[in-house]
Subunit: 474 residues, 2 copies
Amino acid sequence: IAKEVAKLLEMKAQLGDEGKAKFVLKTPKGTRDYSPKQMAIRERVFSAIVTCFKRHGAEVIDTPVFELKETLTGKYGEDSKLIYDLKDQGGELLSLRYDLTVPFARYLAMNKITNIKRYHIAKVYRRDNPAMTRGRYREFYQCDFDIAGQFDPMIPDAECLKIVHEILSELQLGDFLIKVNDRRILDGMFAVCGVPDSKFRTICSSVDKLDKMPWEDVRSEMVGEKGLSPEAADRIGEYVRLHGGLDLIEQLLQDPTLSQNKLAKEGLGDMKLLFEYLTLFGITRQICFDLSLARGLDYYTGVIFEAVLVQQENEHVEEPVSVGSVAGGGRYDGLVGMFDPKGRKVPCVGVSIGIERIFSIMEQKVEASAEKIRTTETQVLVASAQKKLLEERLKLISELWDAGIKAEMLYKKNPKLLNQLQYCEDTGVPLVAIVGEQELKDGVVKLRVVATREEVDVRRENLAEEIKTRTSQS
Amino acid sequence: IAKEVAKLLEMKAQLGDEGKAKFVLKTPKGTRDYSPKQMAIRERVFSAIVTCFKRHGAEVIDTPVFELKETLTGKYGEDSKLIYDLKDQGGELLSLRYDLTVPFARYLAMNKITNIKRYHIAKVYRRDNPAMTRGRYREFYQCDFDIAGQFDPMIPDAECLKIVHEILSELQLGDFLIKVNDRRILDGMFAVCGVPDSKFRTICSSVDKLDKMPWEDVRSEMVGEKGLSPEAADRIGEYVRLHGGLDLIEQLLQDPTLSQNKLAKEGLGDMKLLFEYLTLFGITRQICFDLSLARGLDYYTGVIFEAVLVQQENEHVEEPVSVGSVAGGGRYDGLVGMFDPKGRKVPCVGVSIGIERIFSIMEQKVEASAEKIRTTETQVLVASAQKKLLEERLKLISELWDAGIKAEMLYKKNPKLLNQLQYCEDTGVPLVAIVGEQELKDGVVKLRVVATREEVDVRRENLAEEIKTRTSQS
């Protein structure tokens, strides 16, 4: 019995200990860590995007992760409730940035910049209820490219669409479609359909739901919740089912009601110009003028667009990730003026690439393929065949580091050669530099190629060069 | 009078408008934007650091910018009051990360990783009252390299110091000194000086102030505020003025009181081993064993170190930025265990490079030098010599982009050639591809070298290749 009691007490003590040390060991809701393997994929995606942004001559800026709360106030419409606020710990009231566009506009106004083409890649924060399986998070990266300045119409706008086209092609995510519309066309359409001015924004955000809800549901939201007349809703319904290319633009320019509206006419005129430029770029096949595209954010004033993946092309993937939009953007000519003390406007147009969804697809593709991703760039492992050679290994690896060679060694005094070779197999290190008593006497190092097991003696003073030559193509 | 009244009313209206649009146009206290020029310098610093981390075989990870509040609780000692909390908007209680070390430990415990060498470069947040002229901020980057795992003593520790040495040498910031100590030596010293166990941490944080306060002030804090006996304080005073190299370690190993303490003896033994390895690396000239080094954070358990710049070497800089420590780190063998449900320990040692102070110095150096920093990588501007060639420019630039050339054009229908050439002068674009009626007929493009004003006709199908060749060395 005494034995049993002791056992029970010990168990209890263990439980107590566990209770004490019990943390909820997790990342906050809607966030994630990136493991080295995931980082390797992420850096590939970033590299493709940054290369494209630089190809288009963009500079890069960075802004703080939080802004004064009032900087974000009144910029996002219905989405404002999703902003993360910081606790009031004395001092300024702060919020985490919700996108990179409003901080960019603040930056332009603050520094009186009227002309810039910049990119910005950083995390943004939204207190959404995300479906993480679909690659949506509360903390996620945006990769933004924007052109600010007073220019001739639609030239920068066309470049933004070209950029989306280049990036989505480069990443080989399968077929995609870029939907394009214009807020002026939407507003003109609302006007001719009989929507009162005061309801433009809220009806616009109903239209925005058409990619997730059938028309009937959107219609009842308009009529039921938002008090729109059924006739107006039906007229909207006629328009938002339209999509096409230059032909549709021409048709609407002839539309007896819509063409009477000044805003719509302006928007349609610019849309025609845009399609002409996109034709010169040779990318109209993936671009669709779509009257149902509305975009949620309040600040757009002209062209808006959104890129969606049409299907998963890769047949290795058994269950394709269902992804929504992977890029979006538009023109926001009024946002900078909201920050300028004198209301001076700086016209802007930009695109935002949503990396998380793209990343989910890339990750699945890599998982499904046989590709083995290396997470380090180590060129050589400094090893020893006998004991008591730690000092010699340290001396050699130090020489290699100083010569710019990427080198590792096992942190053991007397590692077994087999373990050292196994480490190379596991991590993909291509070469092993082996020091031994004899090699030290001869002033050489034995260089072993892991893949072929070939071994050659290399004079110590030539070792770095030899390693560089042998790893230069990889 | 009517005129005057109208004028006044207009002025009033303007004021009213201004009042309405009045924002405090700034970034939050202790934060900053990075302009394209500053980003160019920042990327240079990052590149040097990442290259070094990769040379040492590190993988890379990323973690969210905020953690559960309880993840950070009880890890930082007196510094905890500087943590930014997020507002409770329902759901989990969150805090912005204070460093990258605690999230790393959480990551290891959560994923049951017992063996990794990783780097992590990201922003951290401290509600400090920073002196921004000295390059200190509330939002700042840390560049961390850590080695986790059970290894033979001091081999990973020595590598961390080698890394600091490589990075500070590479960045050419002038002379630097890396101070080294060990928490076990400090604790042993406190014990033999008669400090009660319960006061170890708080006396340690007094010692930590010795780089900013004279000994007399630190002594009065110990005796006055913290209730240490004057005798104990004086005994500590004897030790903390000691600094040196292997000789001092040997001397202290012989010290009749200190060598009686088990912890101190262990620490001194390891310190001796560390210096032997650092001698093999050839870097002891910049390393100093300093008994006054304490480091603020609670979680260190063994070796600690801190790198300081000794003076500004660059004589072009009139008023040198006064900078404190630019790197620091140490061993924290207990931190991962605090997160593991069973308290399983994973020994860790790591280094953190503080980029902001380094960046301030680099920025001043660039300002003082004649160096002109380019903020884009554009290789060629697509220009036209006559009017009505917008379409032709769009076609050509699209061809160049698709061929991987970094190309820009002015967003104007009919830009003047002079303005286009001026743009290249201003931004450092080296080449101009000029389309004109005659060139179009001949199937060529006129390629102009901005620096020499040399112009050659290049066949259109060879243009991309020609641009690549001409810009390959830059």
